[in-house]
Structure formats: C-alpha cells, structure tokens
Amino acid sequence: MKTTIQFGPQHPVWVEPLRLKLTMDGEIVKDCELEAGFCHRGLEKKFEWDYNKGAYLSERICGICTQHHSTCYCTAVEGTMGLEIPRRAAVIRTIMLELERLHSHLLAIGLTLESIGFENLFMLCFRNREIVLDMFERTTGNRVLHGINIVGGVIRNIGPEMAKELEDFCDIMEKRCLDLKDMILKSYTIRERMQGVGVMSEQLARDLCVVGPVARGSNVPYDIRAVAPYVLYNEIKVKPIVETSGDCWARSVVRVRELFQSIDIIRQCIPLLADAGEDIFAKSKTLPEKEYFTRVEAPRGELFYYAKGKKSKEMDRIKVRTSTYGNGPGFVPLIKGSHLADVGLITITFDPCIGCFDR
C-alpha cells in the first residue's frame, strides 16, 4: 500500500520552509519529490541597482553565511571595476570568513545533534557559538548581519587590542572545540545512530556535483580555498579535510574537523595584521563595466557570483549560485529507500539553507 506524506513546509526539524513529498511503503520511503521556492523573494532582480547598496543586500540572502555572500559579491564587483583592495582589508576579510565558518559549523553540528534527540550537546554547541557571536559583536557591531564589507574594502578596522582579543578567543575556542570533539567522536550513541545512514558514494557525489562538506564527506577533495584561492588563501595553504565513508557521520565529522582548521587559519592571519598597511578602503575611480565571476568556499560549499556592469552605478546583472543549490539534488537519492525517521537527519546533515536555496 502506498501512502503520501507531506514533510514540511512547517516542520520542527528545519527552521526554514522546504517541502518533501514522500511516497511511503510502510516505513520505507519509496519516492521523494523536493519542492522548493517557499523563500523566493526575487533578489537577483533586486540586485540591478546601486552596487554600494548591493553589498548590504547580498548579506541578506542568507544570515548564516553573511560574510561569504558579501565578500563574494564585493570581489565580483571589484573585478568588474579592476579594483585591488588593500592588504589589510583582505586580512580582515579572511579572519571574518573563518569566524563565520566557525559559527555556521557549530550551528550545523548543533542542529544535527538536536535532530537525533541529543538536546544537551545541542545546547553546548550553541553556548560555544555565543562566544563567536560576541567576537563578531565586538569587531563588527552586530551579531549576525555584520555589514562591514563594502565594495573596495571593509569599514571597520581590527586594531592591535582587538587582535589580542582575537588571539585569546582562539585559545578559548580551541579548548572548547576539543571538548566538543571528544564528546562527539567518542560517543557510542551518536556513532550508532549516524553511521551507515544516508550513504552517498564517491561516484554519486561526483555525478551529482555536490559541494562543500557533503562532497568532502564522500572522499571528494573539493575545496575552493585550495582549488581556486581567493582573498588571502594564496598565502595560507588549506588542505581539504576528507572523510571516506560518505554517511551522515562522515559529513558531521568533516564539520567538526573543519572547526580546528578555521581556528588555525585565524591564528595564521593575526600576525599578518601587524605588517599590513593602515588602509582598509580603496576608492574606485571607474564604474563597473566588464564581466567577472568569483567563487568562495562558504560553510556549505561553493558559492558563485557572476557580475556584469553597464558603465553606470547600477549593475546590469548579478547571478548567484549558492551552495545549497548545488547540494539540493543530493537529498533525493539518499532519502529514497531510507526510513521515515531518518529523513530529518539526512536532510539536516546537508545543512540546508533555504534562504540561499531560493534567494
């Protein structure tokens, strides 16, 4: 007997609206249909305006990877104008990008643990996340939407005092993350629940072109920071973290291990601040006229912006391809054949960000 179940759009597992139409045979999912578009606001059309305002708009595509979106947008628009940002701005951007990844991964790990019913560790993840948010508030002035990236550089400087605070923050954070890592990796319960659930083979991952931690969990070493370095990643070498098994466990472990990578990158960036010049902002003398595209490794994977100017203050076209959009097709083959109780867990390990997905 076949039953059809509507999973979503208002579902406790996800914060955001997404609908899965599941055709069930008893407890086993036979067919799955993904319906998106609940968050579609029409932002790509809205981007055809003053490029300075666009930096603020690009932040509001997604509140979790704010910094990545605005960095990617600003780099693309700077490319159309042929503008080179000051070195100090690049260092500050890199630090912010890694801080952002830290808080996004903590959120993703927390939500994954909550979906399997591990409330305590979820609370702990959020408690650790608050330290990152405090750091953001101190450096940029807002907890989630930072608004420090503009076309041509950044608007807030990280002074020597702040650099000292950042170093202290790295020490505290590393200690907490080590605790968290021990708790997650050594926990028998979590491993039993997540291992072997939602396995994505390496071949499937390559076929579907999934990106980010989903791809790296399936033994595909694809990381934009290593493949096509941007802002400061030419100097700071990043080695993609890879897990082989491709199940929910592997995807979560990739995220846990990337926490330490991010802390390491922030540590490497702080001394560079002292040598960099005082300039944090370069004023452009030309208007955007050429075409340009940039790729950024957001916490969820590859983020792509294409910008085209028309020799005026307004942009001609901005195309955004977000990471969840790349990962979206990966839901369906994994959910097919799994139990209904696993559907929430499988989708949440993809770390879906529907705000990005639909734009």
């Binding site: 003053d50 300075n52 603020y56 509001r60 408690r127 508030e137 101190r138 002035g141 807002n142 608004g147």
Partner: protein, 157 residues
C-alpha cells in the same frame, strides 16, 4: 568517569552562564549598531541619505523642512552615517524596544545653512521688506497626517 565527576563539580561551583537579562540591565560592547538619530541643527536637507538608504526608510520633506525616519523599516546598516556630508546622522548603540505600532520618528530641521531654508528665509525677508509687516516664522505642521505620507511615497516612486 573521573572526568565526568570533575565536570559536575566544576559546574556546581561556577556561576550560571545564563544572562539574567530582564532583571539586570542590558549590556553591550562599544560600537554596536542600532537605529540612527538625526541632528536637525546640522542637516542641510541634501537628500543624499534618502537616495542611498537600501531600505528606503528615510524620507526628506523639503517643503516642511523635516526628516521622516521609519524606524521599523530601518535595517541598521549604517550606510547613511557614512554618506552624510555634514555628519548630521549618528548611530545609537541601544536597540529599539518592541512596540504595538510601527515607529516613525520626525525630526525638524533648523539649520540655517540649508539651501532650502536659506531660500525660504530670503523669500520671507523680501516679503517682509515689501510689506513691512512681521511675518510669522513658519514652524511647519507638527506631524503630517497619513495621507501626506502616501502622497510622498507616490511622488518618490
């Protein structure tokens, strides 16, 4: 096992992590971005902030010499503070309290250097000189009604 016991002991002794917010006052770091305030004595009614606001939350009424600031619509980006040529806009650090209605703040501009006001004053002076009668200084309407707001939006769109 020993580690668990040590952790339990540590947690029992340590202070609670939760901030006791409604009973203790709100604390924030310096430089936190909140809503903006307009300084009527510095503003020259150039309208740059209105044009640059991404959320279209600042409306400049040149005839009534006042600034209409839709607080609930503001996104606290701080772009207007950066573009203002006379530093008439300053950013607050304390967030806005929730309310039952949308908030709109009106600021009366009293800067005599503003071109619009200069023109009006000159016109008034000329009128005064012509009629030799004391003209009452226009204080403007206290608060424009809802209809006016709609009109303003229509003209700007």
């Amino acid at each position: 096992m020993l580690k668990i016991l040590a952790n339990i002991g540590k947690n029992l002794i340590s202070k609670p992590y939760t901030s006791n917010y409604p009973f203790t006052p709100y604390q924030h770091f310096p430089g936190v971005r909140a809503d903006v305030t307009f300084d009527g004595t510095k503003c020259i009614l150039c309208g740059l902030c209105q044009r640059s606001c991404p959320a279209e939350c600042i409306l400049i009424h040149k005839e009534q010499e006042q600034i209409e600031y839709l607080n609930t619509q503001c996104i606290r980006c701080g772009y207007c503070v950066r573009v203002c040529p006379t530093n008439a806009i300053s950013q607050n650090e304390v967030y806005t309290k929730p309310s039952r209605q949308r908030l709109t703040v009106y600021t009366k501009v009293t800067n005599e250097n503003a071109p619009v006001i200069k023109k009006r004053m000159a016109a008034e002076a000329a009128k005064k000189a012509a009629a030799e009668k004391p003209a009452t200084a226009g204080t403007g309407p206290a608060k424009p009604a809802g209809e006016k707001k709609v009109d303003e939006k229509k003209t700007s769109a």
